[in-house]
């Protein structure tokens, strides 16, 4: 209904082509690292921290902090996009790929189609299993060469950079494999169920 509308006397600040081509629609380039969360920052001591994979698996699997760190690390450099419209280029992370974790779990890929990531503080987010396999998702614990700060999700957060950043659950503590999709925290509050920045899937119905 507002097709073709032009904002009077708005000129904007265009980015160079190489930047503009890398920005998903409706996003702007951010050089800081804004923080987004719905409640207080949880602080779980590392000696009590663990990461678990459960749900429809033959046997739930759990890693202590030390056990997680002992797994092969990867160091992805990725662009991240938040639904609040900032995109940050070339962020450097270190973590364990979700694929590496899932390789240690016995599950039936014909039945387990989705994962629910869950976090300290009660946050959840849902993703298709395929979106956390194939080197597309990590449990990340270092950011720019430093331990991930609590306000950014430390000690560890999910990193799923091809989706809006609310899918990269902060303070993540595990994944639950499920057969049927179920909306997580923001997905229940009007945000898009999948959240592809390149399709600008911000809100329900986008």
């Amino acid at each position: 209904m507002s097709e073709g509308f032009i904002s009077r006397a708005f000129h904007g600040r265009r980015q160079p082509d190489d930047v503009a081509g890398r920005l998903p629609p409706g996003q702007y380039l951010e050089r800081g690292f804004p923080v987004l969360s719905a409640g207080p920052t949880p602080h779980t001591p590392l000696e009590r921290w663990d990461f678990s994979i459960g749900g429809i698996v033959k046997e739930p699997k759990r890693w202590t902090w030390q056990e997680l760190l002992a797994l092969p690390h990867e160091t992805p450099t990725v662009d991240i996009s938040c639904v609040t419209k900032w995109t940050k280029f070339d962020t450097h992370w270190e973590g364990v790929s979700v694929e590496t974790l899932l390789q240690q779990v016995d599950y039936d890929p014909n039945v387990a189609h989705y994962v629910i990531a869950f976090s300290d503080g009660g946050y959840t987010t849902n993703l298709p299993l395929a979106d956390v396999l194939g080197g597309k998702a990590w449990v990340a614990f270092n950011y720019e060469g430093q331990p991930l700060a609590p306000e950014h999700g430390g000690p560890a957060r999910l990193l799923v950079p091809h989706l809006y950043f609310w899918k990269s659950a902060k303070w993540v503590r595990g994944l639950r494999l499920v057969e049927r999709d179920a909306p997580g925290f923001w997905e229940s509050l009007g945000y898009h169920n999948y959240g592809d920045p390149w399709k600008e899937q911000r809100y329900q119905g986008d």
Partner: protein
Amino acid sequence: MERTALPGRLTWQLGDVVATQPETARTKSLTLSVPKWVGHLAGQHVDIRLTSDDGYQAERSYSIASPPEDGQQLILTIERLDDGEVSPYLTEELRVGDKLELRGPIGGYFVWEERLGGPLLLIAGGSGIVPLMAMIRHRRAVGSSIPARLLASFRTYEDIIYRDELEREAKAGMAVEVIHTLTRTQPPGWTGYSRRIDAELLREVAWPVEQHPLAYICGPTPFVETAATALLPLGYEPARIKTERFGPTGGPDGQHDT
């Protein structure tokens, strides 16, 4: 956690700017008439989209300052960020008679309705007061007797947003208690706080936890981190501390994060 799902698709629509009101040297309220507005809850925000004549677009999110009871009239209070792309346009260029493209409402967590109870502890850093003002106005509009206390931090007296309205509000029956802290300079005779918020200040201001308070904190990230962290040792339940953060650096001039 309470959930208020947003039904259907959020389509872009046009609002008419029907009034503008400077609040401080850096902030301005825009009143928009949005004929097809579906209503909102106090605390929600909208996305704004600006389009130039060659099709270039910029989007940002801004809090709604007006209560749901205002119907199809929405008030946005915008803080001008000098290096921003959108906020200077909204605060300096846009005028009565212009149209603005928006969609919403967005965000179903940082919201307050009377049924959620209280007492309410509203903690604002700078323009983080905007969604909290929607809650204060909503509380007044529905005649709620739920006790409410606002702690708002600004740099100087002149930076206080909604100062006159809050002074009137504080004098009304069933008033919101308004507590200001000025972190940079204070006028002669200032009786409020004169420092950045800290654990001790919050201990003095916060409702006793036995009253099962509900806290809403909005402001720049370090402010929100400090306030939310300080409420935990007082016994506040994490699930009853709702936060919304914006900032902290460089480019962003959307007011809101989710």
